[in-house]
Amino acid sequence: MRSSFALLIFFAASIAVAQNRTFVSVNGSDVNPCSTTAPCRSFTAAASVVASGGDVVVLDSGGYGPVTISKPLSIIAPAGVYAGISVSGSSGILIDNVGAGVIVLRGLSITGIGGTNGIEMDYAQNLHLDHVDIRNFRNGSAVLMQSGYSDHEPHLVIRDSVFREVAYGVNVQSTVFGQSVSVDHVRFDMAYGTGIQLANNASVAVSNCIFHDGNRGVYATPTTGSVYVTVDQSEFTDLLTGVELYCTSSGSAHAWIGRSTFAASTAAIRSGPGALISFGNNQNEGPAVAWDQTIPLQ
């Protein structure tokens, strides 16, 4: 009897002290302390117990449920482990009330089953997605970058990921300070819709990406402020338009495009203030592009 009392105290203590690393397993339970030997069942429980800046680790393959993240942390499913989130509500992962600090999501599979968005980044400065597979959000975004964080320029970095059957792959809302996005080795199979949508003051670097089967690959629509786009070593195929800059009111947009291949009805087009700039080393299988400028390689 006394010993079980001691155990109770032990568990109470381990729950109260935030841990640098917590664990989830399909054999876990959310009443556990989310330790490696007593893992939790859901991301929500493991994210609430982990220390700021700590890691939530997936031990084995399964579904771990939608989660709201409100502090810097990493959620990591190592290669060989499938960690799924099925989304029937508004967003599978909502990141809000974080402020400064880095959030990392690695190795997750997020599937819409009537839900709106895969990942929604609101009041957070810094989100990194590695090896994330998001599909079936035909009325929403794989990744929605809201304009909530207005203290500094927020950053979104995506690499080695696949976004499929979505209205928007990456949907970047407008902010005063700008939103800074880096997308590397990502495949966008839109079915229809847009790969990367950019509003006022957003900037994006796209490298080693494939945009396939949709309306537009990259679509900038500023009504005020400036949008900057660079595209390097990427492929745009089976699209209506590869890169479109559509500037209205006082918005302007610039795109620098190099080492890329276009098999689209329109490779690149601009309307309104800004410029379409080539490095003179693109491959275009469709109608010629009205480049505003060609910059020599240096």
Binding site: I76, V157, A205, S207, L297
Partner: protein, 298 residues
Amino acid sequence: MRSRTMTLVFLGLCATTAFAQRTFVSVTGVDNATCSRSAPCRSFGAAVTAVAAGGEVVALDSGGYGGLTITKSISIIAPSGVYAGVTVASGTGITISVPAGIVTLRGLSINGVGGTTGIQVDSIGQLHVENTLISGLVSDAMLVNAATLFLVRDCVIRANAQGINIPNAASGITGMVERTRLDENTAAGATIRDNAAVDFSDTTFFNNTDGIVLIPASVGAIAFVNHCFFDRGSRGIVLQTTLDTTSATTVVGDSTFYHVNDPVHRGGIGSNTAFTFANNQFSGYSYTPTFDTILTLK
């Protein structure tokens, strides 16, 4: 009966003193002298003590295995599917001091929560760091004080002060950084000083204050940059010499600099030289990059 027990005891002693070619860690293990497959240890430290020189330490399942000091040639391997964490709450996570030895670190997650340095190399013949994540260190993700050769391959080095920091060295250091991301390091992605030459290929630098800094004190430093992507930040490659006898040299080919304010910064009073293969893409800069010599493609 007695003889069999005696034999077993004798074998056990032999195994302890002879060191195993391969030792194991598990979250269900307990530190012991052999760290065998059936009786794994709990910490990298114990498994490294138990393994033979030239042997392998293998992580069997996901968990944290603690910091350690390496003083003999070994490999520490977390296979795909296993998360092997090293939390650095203070000081240094992994210290390596093996003159002329060979050490491999594969598949680790090194996370700074108040710690100074992720991996500190005081001496090594060859160091291979593969598929490893190093983040959140107050000072350096990697501090390479002395190394004949170090290789960083398929790694993510994120949100530290310095990514790869190489102090002035008495003898030559050769480094190779391949398919790696150096993201959001507040000082620099890599800082290279006396007697070091580092080759960067297929590597992305995102939003570091500086990408690569060459700042040798009295002799010289070299950076080869091939097929790299510099995405935002204050300066891309910095050549900074403090004595007129010092040289800082870079050779840049097939690379892209996007919205780096000062892509190739030239400073100091010594000799600094920038070579180009004239096939690099620069966009959105404030200071026009200048090169001394154009190397011809053949």
